[in-house]
Symmetry: C2
Subunit: 441 residues, 2 copies
């Protein structure tokens, strides 16, 4: 295998990427509420030597729950159960910086990292939507810029807490009775615009130093946050060029933040519908599409575009004057509008092209088609890896692991077995130095 290493992450989007996944034969309609489903999917991904599993999060109910599973169970609890039932695979959970406190998040992810022997990752989100804001005492979402400003300070506080124990702080000498060297455990005494946190943390430094910081920002503020803090990003690029531009832009920004060139792993979103022939894959796509109620798809599209549903006419193009949402959701908004314009689609055509999804790029094809696409993107640097969203779970992942992964391995693109033990090992990310250790040198 060459020096550069392909990375594969599975987005356990409950029953699968397709809104109709739960209705397919073999699917358990209850899977989204059953932690055993997440465990089973993670075990399949581990069999395929994936880097990590990922869980999105949303602290509010979806208004399309009539028709499909929603983001529901709290991800760190689910991933702790996954940790107990797996050995090597990374565990990336989403948590909002807008509706949490940094001391609590530092502890939760440090605990998951200790409990999993260094497999935890934290996907930072800033929670743009109204429904969440109303569950946390607000009448409208926090403004975009303020959310990102808070997120940046939040992440800095969390990292400072993780670093507040020097590596050598724990002594545990039963003979002398010295348990911890308190002189090596430091208050962080943070006093900023959004937070005042005295510290220190009450947990020794996590096995990875810091759990891996993940982010998915597409907006300018989001990219700045990623450039400053993220070690892996989920991108939602629709095209090869877009993804290449995104990766270059992010690296430029990271360099400006003083970070080394290889410090961010770009994982491109990739939805898959796999068949043993192209015709079979297309039939599967049609089958899934026919199971999605049109009522659902229209509501979904109106939500992404943040327009009233009455403005969307099925057999007309998108209205030309849809404004960029004042606040949040820019990534999927842009991807969706770009898709409609590029392909000259009507609303009905756009709905078909989206497959009920959120604007993530979808490949419908054979295992070889998918391996070819992955190789092209990876080799040209449009992505360092992929955030995989199979149509139906666990089925679509099972097929990927049994039929796509072997091709990628044969081509020398993907690991045959895990080379390391931590998520940082898998992603090829350095373990951050403890600043106190550096200061002492």
């Amino acid at each position: 295998m060459s020096g550069r290493q392909l990375h594969l992450n599975i987005n356990i989007l409950h029953s699968g990427f397709s809104p109709a996944a739960w209705r397919m034969e073999g699917s358990d309609p209850r899977a989204s509420f059953d932690v055993n489903h997440y465990v089973r999917v993670a075990q399949i991904a581990e069999r395929g030597t994936f880097d990590a599993v990922f869980l999105a999060d949303q602290a509010a109910i979806s208004d399309r729950v009539d028709f499909r599973p929603l983001t529901s169970l709290e991800p760190t609890i689910v991933l702790a159960m996954v940790a107990a039932n797996t050995e090597r695979i990374g565990l990336i959970a989403t948590a909002s910086t807008t509706y949490n406190e940094p001391y609590n998040i530092a502890r939760r992810f440090a605990t998951l990292d200790h409990a999993s022997n260094g497999r935890a990752g934290w996907n930072i989100v800033t929670s743009a939507d109204l429904a969440q804001s109303r569950n946390f005492g607000l009448q409208k979402p926090v403004a975009h810029a303020s959310r990102y400003e808070r997120a940046s300070e939040f992440a800095a506080v969390v990292k400072a807490l993780w670093d507040s124990w020097e590596e050598e702080a724990f002594i545990g000498d039963a003979t002398t009775g010295r348990f911890v060297d308190a002189g090596r455990v430091h208050p962080i005494a943070h006093s900023g615009k959004h937070f005042s946190v005295h510290g220190p943390h009450n947990i020794p430094r996590p096995p990875q130093g810091h759990p891996v910081i993940v982010q998915a920002g597409g907006s300018d503020d989001g990219r700045e946050l990623a450039a400053e803090h993220a070690e892996a990003v989920f991108s939602a690029s629709q095209s090869f060029e877009e993804s290449l531009d995104y990766a270059r832009d992010l690296r430029r920004r990271a360099t400006r933040c003083g970070r080394p060139d290889n410090s961010i792993v770009v994982l491109a979103g990739l939805a898959t519908i796999i068949g043993s022939t192209e015709a079979e894959a297309k039939r599967r796509q049609d089958e899934l599409r026919d199971l999605i109620p049109l009522e659902y798809s229209l509501a979904r599209l109106a939500g992404v575009l943040q327009v009233d549903r009455s403005r969307l006419e099925l057999d007309a193009p998108l209205p030309g004057d849809i404004p960029l949402p004042a606040d949040g959701g820019h990534t999927f908004f842009r991807a969706t509008v770009a898709l409609a314009q590029r392909e000259g689609l009507t609303v009905r055509g756009l709905i078909r092209a989206l497959n009920g999804g959120t604007g993530h790029r979808t490949i419908v094809g054979t295992p070889k088609d998918i391996a070819d696409d992955i190789e092209t993107w990876f080799t040209a640097g449009a992505a360092d890896g992929f955030n995989l969203m199979p149509d139906v779970l666990p089925h679509g992942l099972d097929v990927f692991v049994d039929e796509v992964v072997p091709i990628l391995r044969r081509r020398g693109l993907f690991r045959h077995e895990y080379g390391g033990r931590t998520l940082r090992d898998h992603l090829g990310l350095a373990r951050p130095d403890n600043p106190y250790a550096a200061a002492a040198e």
Copy 2:
């Protein structure tokens, strides 16, 4: 076995109740930071058909970390790992109502309850101390009354969220495509003094209806909160009469809140040092005591009494004018002062009597001594069960399960096997009705 059922809960106080537990032969000094330790202890408790394991919590570092393990790892993550490695035992985690948001806590405990098939419990604390307040943007703790007022509203919001899905809300009919009956998922539209939460919850009603609500308040406000919300309480009574009074007072208050007589299970704190003879138990007690640095014990006592350490003279009685702390920590303050006065102890004698502990009642004796004590308290109604704190973990629990539990079983006091599957089953607590179901009848 008679109708009334003894309940046993294990407080997994990291390495054990004794501050020197981590120094004993056979102890792993790292145990407090190792989730496998908690799993191991829980498995022993499950072998002994205990009702539940319990984890305390503190979102700050202890200032006595030099000498002994501290409350460290985040308990819901640890208990999710325990859930994955056990089948029946209940899982009670502490979470603060002062430094969390109700929507987040509702989700975390609902997820743990779903993931464990109905074994979750939530121990409500209000976090009195300065160290925690300074990790959450405050310069001093929130005032006592305000903390309890917030806690009461917090618990009401959490319960309303758990109830926001009717039992029949989930449909999951793959044929019709109806996933959830959104008409049976209700916004809570809570607007109160401390919280404004629109809801609904994004998780179906937990298997237990509500995870079991636990509390440990000794103060007047604490007892009112328990009377209103708690289904199990941890008490810190030093004497039989005190515990009897406490149980009666709590039941009186609960009746005033309109709750049935058997709706609160009183679990009395019980620290144990077990030997096969009384002499052996006393030798063990001495051994543990000799391993506790005096410096530690003085700091600990000064902390409980909230006085400057310089006011404590080793060979004099406690100063007579120590005021009840202005804010919080009353339970252990009262228990400690009462012990010193009752026994006429010097500071040194008090430290010896406390065994480095926090004022919890300690029995030093044979398995039969402990079983006798438990039977006396239980039969007379001074407690419905015990919150067990063995001197050293897992050793002290192993001995309890192998040597005390069989006596309790032979006497017809304690279950031989689990009769039910949920924590409510174990505790003999009714599953709360969903108010929407009641309204529809």
